[in-house]
């Protein structure tokens, strides 16, 4: 089913679905009990968003469990493995800031995503705040934390350009979005006494990246785990 908005719904829905999955991997492994609750909170919000967005395109479970890697349209950023807590927080900082700015703009318009965005914007404001609070603490706490956070921010920097690539059916001012994103992220990093990374913000592969269905190697393994049980029982209900 291809409607004008379906490429965009898939892109945004896959972002939320994949990031939710990664955050779910922290269950039982978080650094402190209070973060178990916080990370699960974020994961559940994202899963809720994913379900609404995917349902705009087709059956949510068929889309989640029966597509191959090349059919997923999520950013490469969100599929990156959790790594240590610093990596997870850096990924959250980059993505939640983008998501908050994006949904704020979508909810202010009257496009097809306005109603969903209006509800989601409250949730992602909280995700962004959580990421910022932790960026400050990891960057400006101990030397160990500072080093880990610095490495994490550097290593994920090259995935951040993709967030501002055009998406068919997503009608937003990408330049303005990117400007606001850079301002915000740079501000938080500086307050956290971290260096703003300087490298390229996209890969050199002309064929594209996540939005074109070209993902990273860990993604295939993630999908295999995610889809295995569902695929083992074709047609079954759960």
């Amino acid at each position: 089913m291809t409607t004008p908005g379906s490429a965009a719904a898939l892109a945004l829905g896959d972002d939320a679905l994949v990031l939710s999955h990664r955050l779910g991997e922290w269950a039982g492994n978080a650094p402190v009990l209070e973060e178990e609750v916080a990370l699960a909170n974020i994961a559940l919000d994202l899963l809720g968003q994913a379900r609404v967005l995917l349902s705009l395109v087709g059956d949510e479970d068929e889309l989640a469990y029966l597509r191959e890697e090349r059919a997923f349209r999520n950013l490469q950023l969100v599929e990156q493995p959790n790594g240590d807590f610093a990596h997870t927080i850096a990924r959250q900082l980059y993505f939640s800031t983008y998501q908050h700015l994006l949904y704020a703009e979508l909810s202010a318009g009257d496009g097809p995503f306005a109603p969903l965005a209006a509800k989601a914007v409250k949730e992602v404001a909280y995700h962004r705040d959580h990421a910022e609070q932790w960026t400050l603490r990891l960057g400006d706490g101990t030397d160990v934390g500072h080093d880990r956070m610095g490495r994490a921010c550097e290593s994920l920097w090259r995935f951040t350009g993709e967030m501002f690539q055009p998406v068919e059916g997503l009608d937003v001012d990408r330049e303005r979005l990117e400007g606001a994103w850079l301002d915000s992220v740079e501000n938080v990093l500086r307050r956290a006494t971290l260096t703003v990374p300087e490298g390229p913000r996209s890969g050199a592969w002309q064929a594209g990246a996540g939005r074109q269905g070209l993902h990273t190697e860990p993604f295939g393994r993630m999908l295999a785990e995610m889809q295995h049980l569902h695929r083992s029982h074709p047609g079954a209900s759960w």
Partner: protein, 95 residues
């Protein structure tokens, strides 16, 4: 990590229908900002607390504690948290 690094905080929540803050419980956090956020996650997951106070346990002077029971409000958007969301066949008891 020691207890003093992530000290104990008491949490008070006032719901939309409530007139005053009631004691909901306690949690650990390194500072007030995280305490507030942790309290929101832990004590208002099933509803919307209108106002949350977090207070370091160490600054509370108590005569005899007057802890009230927690107050619950159902949340509209996460129905699977609530027992009524599940379809259980008629006649099955104790669920």
């Amino acid at each position: 990590m020691t207890n003093t690094d992530w000290p104990l905080w008491e949490v008070f929540v006032r719901s939309r229908r409530g007139l005053s803050h009631t004691h909901a419980g306690s949690l650990h956090a390194p500072d007030a900002e995280l305490a507030l956020r942790n309290a929101r996650d832990l004590y208002t997951r099933r509803g919307e607390g209108v106002s949350i106070w977090v207070v370091p346990s160490s600054v509370i002077t108590a005569s005899s504690p007057d802890e009230k029971d927690p107050f619950f409000e159902p949340a509209a958007d996460k129905p699977y948290r609530h027992p009524t969301f599940y379809e259980i066949p008629e006649g099955v008891k104790h669920l």
